[in-house]
């Protein structure tokens, strides 16, 4: 009994150490080694593992971990996760920029000179506000729909994933009220104040990385601890057998809503982090393909397994953002060809998804139990052929 607990605690401590080690290494790499290193190292890192890309990856990790709570833990299919990203992003747009110019509120905020109008709240509070606001939206969206069976639920979430971005796209004139500045987007977002001593400008990616990594670590902790507790067991039980779970005293509605709220919360965090990463918020990002991309990260990484999901997020966002492009540039450069690589990206990306599902559908780093179920009928299938 206690042995079991001890192992759990030890592995928890181990991940904390590992995560910190990787984060510190990356910070040192970006902060000292690359700027002071030889130019080939600089070019190599800039080309293949640029700091901007790493920061974007963290956004995707946060999103994927959130979706993992909904899909991986509780087994609820969500095809509209991008809605929470959008809501979180716009909370940052509202509370960290000069956009709402009728107000002039500053709560530990950090407006750029000349942009003092609007609402300026400190980054950390905005994180909480966005997370909380998204969690409320998660409950609003979830409450009427969570009674539905999985496919229908998926469709309803898809519907919300389409409606909410459209509200933001059309939102520059809703009965005369400018909610979102429409497709023009909201820029700039206030710089983050780095633990009180430095405003983070566009080239302080390494410091931003530290902040994002802390938030990401927070999400990892949330994922792991909730999974091990009372709520995590209830989620898994619901994923396995809703009916049996309810007859064992698990309140279905409330438990599912909790999964939704936690997922939405992290979507909100990711939205704020992303808004500060690109220094703005643009409605065009929030389309269905992004929801699918995040879902693919969860599934390809290994549903339910925090490490797998992180790896999935890292790999897919790297491929989507920098990998395919850099690969094309390299091939074209090395063989002096002029192949139009971007036009093959659909093919490469699509094939990757298909092949993964064919040959390693439990994901890169599966949860042991998921591997079992993913392959359980393999043998039956062979005899079908």
């Amino acid at each position: 009994m206690t042995g079991h607990k001890a192992i759990e605690d030890r592995s928890n401590r181990r991940w904390a150490i590992g995560f910190t080690a990787v984060a510190v290494f990356l910070f040192v790499l970006y902060h000292w080694i690359v700027p002071n290193g030889p130019s080939w190292l600089h070019d190599f890192v800039q080309g293949w593992f640029s700091n901007a890309n790493t920061n974007e990856m963290i956004v995707y990790i946060i999103m994927a971990l959130g979706l993992n709570v909904v899909v991986g833990y509780a087994g609820l299919l969500d095809l509209g996760f991008v809605a929470f990203w959008a809501i979180g992003g716009y909370v940052a747009g509202w509370l960290m920029s000069s956009f709402l110019g009728n107000f002039k509120i500053n709560i530990f905020g950090n407006p750029a000179p000349g942009l003092e109008m609007g609402i300026h709240v400190t980054f950390w509070w905005v994180l909480l506000a966005a997370g909380g606001f998204c969690a409320i939206w998660g409950i609003i969206i979830g409450a009427p729909t969570l009674r539905l069976k999985s496919d229908y639920l998926a469709l309803v979430t898809l519907g919300f994933g389409e409606i909410i971005p459209q509200v933001f796209i059309n939102g520059q004139d809703i009965n005369g009220f400018n909610l979102s500045n429409g497709n023009q987007g909201i820029t700039p977002i206030d710089p983050i104040r780095f633990f009180g001593f430095r405003n983070l400008g566009p080239f302080d990616l390494d410091y931003k990385f530290v902040i994002y990594a802390v938030i990401c670590a927070g999400m990892v902790m949330v994922s792991l601890r909730l999974r091990q507790g009372r709520l995590g067991r209830a989620w898994l039980a619901i994923r396995e057998d809703e009916l049996a779970a309810s007859m064992m005293g698990v309140p279905l509605m409330r438990t599912k809503l909790a999964a939704y709220a936690v997922g939405a919360f992290s979507g909100g965090l990711g939205g704020v982090v992303f808004a500060t990463h690109i220094n703005g918020i643009f409605a065009e990002r929030f389309n269905f393909s992004i929801s699918i991309l995040i879902l693919a990260m969860v599934v390809l990484g290994g549903m339910g397994n925090v490490w797998g999901v992180m790896v999935g997020a890292i790999v897919l966002s790297w491929i989507n953002g920098i990998g395919l492009q850099q690969f094309g540039n390299t091939v074209n450069g090395a063989f002096n060809t002029n192949i139009d690589f971007p036009s093959f990206n659909f093919l490469i990306f699509g094939s990757l998804l298909i092949l993964m599902m064919m040959f390693r559908r439990e994901g890169f780093i599966p949860e042991a139990r998921v591997r079992l179920v993913m392959h359980e009928h393999e043998d039956d299938n062979e005899e079908v052929h």
Partner: protein, 353 residues
Amino acid sequence: MPADVATPMSTAAPRAPRLDPKDLTYKISGGLILLGLAFWLGVNLFHDPAQFFTVAIDGLKNGALYALIALGYTMVYGIIQLINFAHGDLFMLGTMMSAFIITTVFGQKAPSLAGYGAFAVAMIVSMAFCGGLNIGIERFAYRRLRRAPKLAPLITAVGVSFVLQFVGLHWNGSGQRQWQTVLPNTQFNINGVVIDVKTVIIFAVTIPMLLILTWLVTKTKQGRAMRATAQDQDAARLMGINVDRTIAFTFGIGGALAGAAGLMYQQVVGSTAYNLGYQLGLIAFTSAVLGGIGNLAGAVLGGLLIGLIQGLNDGLSYGLGQQWSQSVVFTILILLMVFRPAGLLGKNVTEKV
């Protein structure tokens, strides 16, 4: 809180003698929404009846197109419960194949006898092409995953969708292309209500398709095999049904429908684009669910309804306007899911304990 019961069994469960407050709220809010809708329609109808019916029929024209795509969606879902995201992209390739046959191969750009001939050839080629492609996709991508948890084939379908978009991108180019139609461009005007002859043609294609499919599913041996497979694959196999072939057959039919829809879209709307399938696939899937997924007539009803709603919202003077059409459609979908989860024509299912 009866809402916590996992299964949607509002009709199957016995009704309590007294209304419980939750049920009552549901009924009242549902009624209010319907009332508001009726009021909105009434005001518009009163305002300008000719326009009302013109835009309604316009909407139904699109709706019939959605219905054609939704039929394929619903068949595939009905048999293996797969949300086939690639279906819309298959339809997209159907539009391109039709354009290729009619305009590039036969060089037909205007209504003429030769044009109708090319149209007929394109119908056959496009249906065969999409049907064959869909069978191939099923064989190579989905079959292995038939017993895997739902998410695996879903992600595969997304992958297939990307690959098909790649094909479309290279076939059609990145932009949208416009085509001349071989269908007549005439319009009837009945008391101010304008009806496009193309609307008539689409219905002349969609309704027979629905009838043929219904006959196929309910009356033929193959149809019985399909229904048996949809119910329980293992039992069907034990009864001597070749499940693989039945599923492949269903995919073939679904693909052929996508091909037919592609031809109709290309000829009626007159454009092709590589990313067409995404949008229309989404709407078609919504139609299928609206009507009750797995139900053929439901898919047609759902498609027509969505087209009608869009047309009314776009075209009525007191509407939200075109830019909100998508939101209106999905809002209605969500409301329906809340009030009648099984869709308009679908049956509620209870879980066995």
